[in-house]
């Protein structure tokens, strides 16, 4: 069911589209525009070749306001969520400052049901950073999303709302002061990239953590080293894949206790630390290793949602459940032994197809047991038995005292459970 909040931006977009049809918007488009933008938009949305979709998206974005009516017409006819992320991102990143583009980005950013609202907010942010009037105009929009459950949305909102020196102090449109520091490591790194915060980026270099086999920590480190290279003009020779297991790599390298690629990496980190200290005028940043714990996990679920935010949950053979809104799973719950035995027993009766529904953006990745392959689940496509099992897991987590984690799981189930299955 559509939430009332989601209707407002849609109504805005519809009114905006109607105004264009009436000729108001057309008057603002360049007069000598002979391009058939609808063809380029269609190609950006439907070409079977990824590269051609990407190229068409860039062309549409470079068309500026002249191309926007064709984008809106496509969205009106086929649904706004058939617009690919590449097109929205291209408009956000390389589009101009035309009124039609601004209006489209604004409406998309406010639409909670639009998959690529964070990319749209980024488009507003990039423009607002170059134009004080736009910054003032969109300030309430940015403030509105500083606590958004979707980390990317939150990141762009915080980039535009917070003073970097007072990271968690902002007055919202409602007059409330938000004082929540960013805890998601992915968001911290992205925010540091946007702000050019070399120390925070350096801190991310030591991350090798994984979730259900996904090396998200190394991905974070790779983003950080690319951003540092851009900031400092050098990556110091640091190579993500050659990182070592020691906690104080630069010191060890200088002391000569490392060899080969590890030693090179240690020296690279030392060079980076020197460069950061020289740039910022402070002390050298400390290198910290963030690696997986020694626990072995039997299974888990990962729900990625541009709308509702992410949820990560994983469990051990002993019924220890770790979870949270970020892949470092900051919360843990110990399920009672009898309850966990029953959950393990019922898990053996479950089989999930590898694909459940067609995934566009929001998705669940689930592994009930290590002997079964992982499955992907689109919204409203989680089969009944798995939904029931996860509902029981939520109840067990609640019994262990971690009610917020249990509630988060139930909320995500609401999005992914097949409509034929009711979860209460």
């Amino acid at each position: 069911m559509t939430q009332p909040l989601a209707r407002a931006p849609r109504a805005l977009l519809a009114a905006f589209f109607c105004a264009w049809l009436a000729g108001d918007a057309h008057a603002q488009a360049p007069k000598a525009d002979a391009e058939d933008w609808s063809k380029h938009v269609e190609k950006a949305c439907t070409s079977p070749r990824y590269g051609l979709r990407l190229a068409a998206a860039k062309k549409v974005a470079q068309g500026g306001d002249a191309a926007i009516p064709a984008v809106l017409a496509w969205a009106e006819k086929n649904g706004v969520n058939t617009l690919p992320v590449a097109l929205v991102e291209a408009i956000a990143d390389s589009g101009g400052d035309g009124q039609l583009q601004l209006d489209a980005l604004h409406a998309w950013a406010l639409d909670r049901d639009f998959y690529w609202r964070a990319q749209a907010l980024r488009g507003l942010a990039l423009r607002a950073r170059k134009d004080e009037a736009l910054r003032a105009k969109f300030a309430p929009v940015f403030a509105q999303f500083v606590e958004d459950p979707a980390w990317l949305m939150r990141t762009f909102a915080r980039w535009m709302s917070f003073d970097p020196k007072h990271d968690f102090d902002v007055e919202t449109a409602q007059g409330q002061v938000v004082r929540t520091p960013e805890s998601d490591p992915r968001a911290r790194t992205k925010l540091a990239m946007l702000r050019g915060d070399a120390r925070e980026l350096f801190f991310a270099l030591g991350d090798t953590r994984t979730f259900l086999g996904d090396s998200w920590g190394k991905r974070r480190a790779a983003e950080a080293i690319a951003a540092l290279k851009s900031l400092l003009g050098t990556d110091g020779g640091y190579r993500i894949d050659d990182s070592a297991s020691g906690a104080s790599l630069p010191d060890a390298a200088k002391a000569g206790s490392l060899a080969g690629a590890e030693a090179d990496n240690g020296m690279a980190l030392a060079r980076l630390a020197d460069a950061i200290a020289q740039r910022d005028g402070g002390g050298k940043p400390e290198f910290a290793r963030n690696s997986d714990s020694k626990l072995t996990f039997l299974g888990g679920i990962e729900t990625l949602s541009c709308k509702n935010g992410d949820l990560f949950l994983r469990w051990t053979a002993d019924g220890l459940v770790e979870g949270g809104a970020s892949p470092d799973c900051p919360t843990s719950a110990q399920i009672a032994p009898t309850r966990w035995s029953e959950l393990l027993r019922t898990s053996t009766q479950m089989q999930l197809p590898p694909q459940n529904g067609v995934v566009i953006c929001d998705k669940m990745r689930i592994q009930i047991r290590p002997d079964l392959p992982q499955s992907a689940v689109a919204p409203e496509s989680l089969p009944g038995p798995a939904a029931e099992w996860l509902k029981q897991l939520a109840a067990a987590i609640e019994e262990s005292g971690q009610t917020p984690l249990a509630d988060a799981l139930r909320q995500r189930l609401g999005q992914f459970v097949s409509p034929a299955t009711q979860v209460r």
């Binding site: 790779a222 690319a226 894949d241």
Partner: protein
Amino acid sequence: MRCMRSVALLLPLCLLPQDPIRTSFAVLAGFDWTAGMKLPDEVTKLDSKKVQLGGFMMRETPGSGPVAQFLLINDACGCTGTPKMNEIVFCAMPDGTTTEIKNGVVQVTGTLYVGEQKEEDEVIAIYVMDVDTIQ
């Protein structure tokens, strides 16, 4: 004669299947790509080599069922943004075979081809792989 014998003895060793070179997206995507640029030596040296690479399988277009081609990317859903050209390996299964899109991280082994490929005057790929195995 002795020399000839040595060559004959070593020849079978050359014909043994090569161990794949382990590489990663940290290497493949470790530079800002722009169309027409000279690609870094670190990636061009992998051209036509047997490599092993971990990543997520993604369909080139939304759908279901087995595929003959797929994209290997570094991010589970691409929600954080559009993968750039050097963040994608365009993978082709052996002729006449298909694969299901597996969930989670997979290790793909095959022959990697490095270099810009164009269609309709647009770069449509930098990395293409003929897949041998997916694990």
